[in-house]
């Protein structure tokens, strides 16, 4: 297997505010546009479940049509609210409803650069090719 030697890593941070007013198609298009340019995208927030599914659908369509694009690695890390008391959890849920889930962090990158993202509840480990 031939792989490009990585000399640097291009990370692009997207604040959630930049995605908030976009439609589901526009959000996914924006993310995949960056990933196709070999950027690792870090979104301050998380996509909704149906948006994640759409991201996977559109990724598969691109794998089918764009030569050398093998897909994405995707991971979301969120604060664990299980041990928190009910007031903290309610405050978190209220903020989530009002301004979107900006307490989470979403990492999306091209599978040709990221070998694996290991995710457990407290951390994300990014392994590069």
């Amino acid at each position: 297997m031939k792989h490009k030697k990585i000399r640097g890593l291009s990370l692009q941070v997207i604040p959630f505010a930049e995605l908030r007013d976009l439609s589901i198609s526009e959000r996914v298009k924006k993310i995949l546009g960056l990933v196709l340019n070999d950027r690792i995208v870090i979104i301050h927030g998380r996509l909704r479940a149906e948006e994640e599914a759409r991201l996977i659908e559109d990724t598969m369509a691109l794998v089918d049509h764009v030569k050398s694009f093998k897909g994405i690695e995707l991971a979301v890390i969120e604060p664990n609210m299980k041990g928190e008391n009910i007031i903290v959890r309610m405050r978190h849920n209220l903020a989530k409803t009002l301004v979107g889930d900006s307490s989470a962090l979403t990492v999306v990158g091209p599978a040709s650069i990221i070998k694996e993202i290991k995710r457990d509840p407290k951390k994300i480990e990014l392994f590069l090719k």
Partner: protein
């Protein structure tokens, strides 16, 4: 969002007006977790026929396949299911991975193309399911984003879900880890290969059908 609301409304109407018969149950999960092996075991047990081909090479199932009217008896009760086996969900597909299993380039490229379409097909079928069995490999890390995304979509669509930890015959299998990853769900540990754990599985399946 509109799709989800429509699906929710459909489910509510079905719950009011339709008897619980021929429950459409989907098998979802990452590639090579053993979805077809589990579906085969069930179909073989109750219809005498298997549903699909299994293989060690990922993405063997590249089209949705189903078996109508599978009557399952459990402790004197009978339910009829439509078993829907779906292609494995993945975020990346590389034809070169298939070449590692001895496939020729052309063959591997064809498989990769079909596999990408299979993933899309799986996601699109999700809307139509009455209930879903998420099949995971008990020897693999359950915290993969694909698993989280599947569960997230099932919650959003309010589809009753059962998690199956398959391959418990493997030394590395760890059901506790699967249970810890999905604490809000029934987790049934089975080995489709050896046929173990199916009593508890059918018990959980009948509990699941009550939520439809």
């Amino acid at each position: 969002m509109l799709k989800i609301l429509k699906s929710f409304a459909k489910r509510i109407l079905q719950r009011i007006f339709k008897k619980r018969e021929n429950i459409k149950i989907g098998f979802y999960g990452p590639p090579n977790a053993g979805k077809t092996s589990v579906a085969n075991r069930i179909c073989k047990d109750w219809t005498g026929e298997e549903l699909g081909i299994v293989s060690k090479i990922p993405h063997e199932t590249r089209h949705v396949q189903f078996k109508e009217k599978v009557n399952i008896d459990h402790k004197g009760k009978t339910l009829t299911f439509k078993i829907v086996d779906t292609p494995g969900l993945a975020t990346k597909i590389d034809y070169e991975d298939f070449m590692g299993y001895g496939m020729k380039k052309g063959q591997a490229k064809k498989r990769a193309k079909e596999a990408t379409q299979g993933v899309i097909e799986s996601i699109q079928w999700l809307e139509d399911m009455d209930a879903v069995i998420v099949v995971l490999d008990a020897a693999e890390n359950p915290y993969s984003q694909v698993n989280i995304t599947i569960i997230g979509n099932l919650i959003a669509r309010k589809i009753p879900t059962l998690v199956v930890a398959n391959k418990i015959d493997l030394k590395k299998a760890n059901i506790k880890k699967v249970e810890a990853a999905f604490p809000d769900y029934d987790v049934a540990g089975i080995s489709a290969k050896e046929g173990t754990g199916f009593d508890d599985f059918y018990e959980a399946l009948f509990r699941l059908s009550k939520k439809v």
